[in-house]
């Protein structure tokens, strides 16, 4: 057995365990180490063909939030830091090191000598410009960045001073949205930049045909080791059956977002590897507490008790995932000790009867064209109707549905949330701190929770933060904040001769480490 085979077997084993138990960072770090060991004997060259379910729309990180674009930008644009292989930690990117002051208020980042894909050096002006765009409160992800002043100490040093302690700062600087762009090119035309970006990542864009494919080639000016493959084709293949057939026939090397009902057949195929890896993702039903009848906590808890999550896990997710015990994904301060809300139809009935429910219709929105959420909705509807609630499923296209959410014009919406950073604070605050994002469409407002979250955000002591986040999780989850359905993992599949591919827990994958054993 060659070393490669050993590592592949181990990795598969690790993926399988992780799927069951949502492992902590340590073991996954081990898997990552095996990957880089394998990379020592990596073969160079070849074209990697990756079939995506969502198309990249633009390569400008400041203006997008769709997965297709994020996946592509991650390969092309480096930020100051980046998530490590597992996604739980951070590693240097354009900043080669950093210091944090004792009071957690001043961050000093030491920038490395790096070049953009056009050969120009990465200057402080570029970094300042990019961070100005990223942290602009009017910008798309501006709200995740705290108030800060940035100061150029010298050509290699950037000093960031916060107004209040904000522990997740480094995580937010690793976001795709904080990618460093070539200022002159971007300013010349942001539209053209979206098609032909100039960044300092491992790959650069060779050609980009919207709605068809994006072709990447190695950036010869990249600051770190050159990628192994000669070319990457990211093809947009929205139909999941077509992605699976393409993978099986050898047209594609890697596919992501595997339809779960077909995961078993991929596992059974000796030429293919199924990767199940933990994700900062929670599938859940958004509830609007501002609107009757969901303003009533008893009704919200009845929805929770009458939600047959085991049936959903079996019929919709085919066993991939875990019934949640939280209102948010499993991130670094997740609390295992919070008790799950059990499936208890009788209790739900009693709660509805006691709440003085007047028969107001609860509209359950499911995004159209998504058969998995449509099925979840139908299972929920059967349970909720049995509990005495009047529930109608309505399907809207995703754009309309989000628009309705933003206007507060909804009761319940089957969807999910993912975290782009590896710090608990990002989602905990967005979802539950009413002063940050209004409770993320829920209108949830609990002064105590807001205080706990503020304290946790400003505390540098992990033990204190862990304790506070446990309290928040217990409180918000048992307030019937939402109806959590599943901690859904990432499920990807690739041909066995693709080595070194794996999904980081925040979502992206790095193709610079991937090589082809052929």
């Amino acid at each position: 057995m060659t070393r490669t085979e050993v590592s592949k077997r181990l990795r598969r084993g690790v993926a399988a365990i992780a799927a069951g138990a949502m492992l902590a960072a340590g073991l996954l770090g081990g898997a990552a180490a095996l990957d880089s060991a394998a990379a020592g004997e990596a073969k160079q060259g070849g074209t990697l063909i990756f079939a995506l379910p969502e198309e990249p729309l633009s390569m400008t990180g400041f203006t997008i939030s769709d997965n297709g674009s994020i996946w592509a930008i991650e390969q092309v644009c480096d930020s100051l830091l980046e998530p490590d292989d597992s996604g739980y930690g951070l590693r240097p990117a354009l900043a080669e090191s950093w210091d944090v002051s004792d009071d957690q208020m001043v961050y000093t980042l030491h920038i490395r000598d790096a070049k953009f894909s056009n050969g120009d050096p990465v200057t402080m002006a570029d970094i300042q410009f990019s961070l100005d765009k990223a942290t602009d409160p009017e910008g798309y992800l501006g709200f995740v960045f705290p108030a800060m002043t940035r100061e150029v100490v010298d050509g290699k040093t950037l000093k960031i001073t916060l107004e209040q302690p904000f522990t997740p700062l480094l995580s937010t600087l690793s976001l795709f949205a904080a990618g460093i762009v070539h200022k002159a090119t971007y300013e010349a035309s942001p539209e053209d930049f979206g098609v032909q970006p100039v960044c300092a990542g491992p790959f650069k864009v060779e050609s980009f045909q919207r709605g068809n494919k994006l072709v990447l080639v190695p950036n010869e000016h990249y600051w770190d080791a050159q990628p192994h493959v000669d070319k990457i084709e990211m093809r947009y293949v929205p139909e999941s059956n077509a992605r699976i057939l393409g993978l099986k026939s050898g047209d594609f090397d890697v596919i992501n977002v595997v339809p779960l009902n077909q995961a078993k057949s991929i596992e059974a195929d000796p030429g293919l590897t199924l990767e199940v890896s933990p994700a900062f993702r929670l599938d859940y039903v958004y509830l609007n507490h501002a609107r009757a009848p969901l303003d009533n906590e008893d009704i919200r808890m009845a929805l929770n008790y009458a939600a047959n999550r085991d049936a959903i896990l079996k019929a919709v997710f085919f066993g991939y995932g875990e019934v949640p015990n939280s209102y948010m994904p499993v991130i670094n301060y997740h609390c295992d000790s919070v008790e799950k809300i059990a499936y208890d139809p009788e209790k739900a009935k009693a709660l509805v009867a006691g709440a003085g429910y007047d028969g107001t219709t609860i509209e359950l929105i499911a995004p159209s064209g998504d058969s998995a959420t449509r099925q979840s909705a139908q299972i929920l509807q059967q349970g909720w109707r049995a509990a005495g609630l009047n529930v109608e499923i309505v399907e809207f296209d995703i754009g309309t549905a989000f628009g309705m959410m933003e206007e507060g014009n909804f009761n319940a919406f089957v969807s999910y949330i993912t975290s782009d950073t590896n710090d608990q604070d990002f989602l905990a605050s967005i979802e539950a701190d009413n002063t940050i994002f209004g409770g993320f469409f829920s209108s949830y407002n609990n002064k105590q929770v807001t205080d706990w979250l503020t304290e946790a955000r400003q505390s540098g002591d992990p033990a204190v933060r862990q304790d506070l986040y446990c309290k928040v999780q217990q409180q918000v989850y048992w307030d019937g904040y939402s109806v959590p359905l599943n901690f859904k993992p990432f499920v990807n599949a690739y041909r066995n001769d693709v080595i070194g591919f794996h999904n980081s827990v925040t979502g992206p994958w790095w193709l610079k480490d991937v090589w082809l054993d052929r």
């Binding site: 059956n241 019929a315 159209s368 064209g369 058969s371 449509r374 299972i379 309505v394």
Partner: protein, 289 residues
């Protein structure tokens, strides 16, 4: 008169009329009759509750206890297909024949009076045709929310145009015929001339077209539900069953294939009737001439 032969066939004369039918018309009508009866008596025909989800019976292949198998939520597919008749045939019927009624009326008036009225109605028609249907229905859904009422409104806005064109063209031909001139000379009111004398002669092509339209409308409804714009789950609509089964087509072919087959069978029945009617109406037309 050809139209009246069909429209006013008394029960006693029905068998004689059927005797003149071509084989396609007979087979099509028989198929449609069976489908409609199965829909009406769905609670008797269907062995299970079409909504009941049994999580211990997920994705069972067709067998004696589940003729069409079960779907991804453990519901009996045969029962759902049978109950689906009620939805697809009812909605299909309404969105075909309601626009036909006022479409023919508009066309007949435009053709009879001509002039300014004709000009106004036909420009209105051009406007309705010019508007892309899918965009229209998405707009209506954005205003009213998804569901059958949005489909009705969107379809009612555009579907009358074909009938109006057909009726207008036929009316232009009939307008100058002797029996029409005779009726006018006798001083009959316009309403009587148009609806009693002209209508039976101009409606034939619309009736034939309506059968093809019915098929297209069932496909339209299925298509909209497939896209999530039509009938909402958990209602057993054929198109939405096909949509839900699409992800399972490799391992569980029956979930989308068998409801799809129901669409094909209903469509075939209506197409056969349409063909048969065209021939039957053509025959009587020749017989009269």
């Amino acid at each position: 008169m050809p139209g009246e032969a069909i429209l006013t066939a008394a029960p006693a004369a029905l068998w004689r009329e059927i005797g003149r039918w071509s084989m396609t018309l007979k087979i099509g009508s028989l198929m449609l009759l069976v489908i409609v009866l199965a829909g009406i008596f769905a609670p008797v025909v269907a062995p299970y509750d079409p909504y009941f989800q049994d999580y211990d019976k997920l994705l069972l292949p067709p067998s004696a206890s589940h003729l069409f198998g079960t779907d991804q939520l453990g519901r009996d597919l045969f029962s759902r297909v049978i109950y689906g008749i009620r939805i697809d045939m009812t909605v299909g019927f309404i969105i075909t024949f309601v626009p036909m009624i006022y479409g023919v009326a508009i066309g007949a008036l435009a053709g009879y009076y001509g002039g300014v009225l004709d000009g106004v109605l036909m420009r209105l028609l051009d406007t309705a045709i010019a508007f892309p249907f899918l965009v229209l229905i998405i707009v209506v859904i954005a205003i009213l929310g998804p569901g059958v009422q949005s489909i009705y409104i969107a379809v009612f806005l555009v579907a009358w145009t074909m009938y109006a064109r057909l009726a207008r063209a036929e009316m232009l031909v009939e307008r100058s015929k002797d029996y029409m001139l005779a009726a006018e000379t006798l001083g009959y009111p316009a309403s009587r001339i148009i609806f009693r004398h002209a209508l039976p002669n101009i409606i034939g092509s619309s009736v034939v077209f309506s059968m093809a339209d019915f098929v297209l409308n069932i496909l339209l409804l299925s298509g909209l539900s497939f896209l999530g714009l039509g009938i909402q789950p958990p209602e057993p609509e054929w198109g939405s069953m096909v949509a839900e089964g699409r992800d399972f087509i490799f391992d569980n072919w029956w979930i989308c294939t068998l409801p799809g087959l129901a669409i094909v069978i209903a469509g075939t029945a209506l197409s056969l009737i349409g063909d048969g009617l065209a021939r039957r109406l053509g025959q009587s037309h020749q017989a009269i001439l």
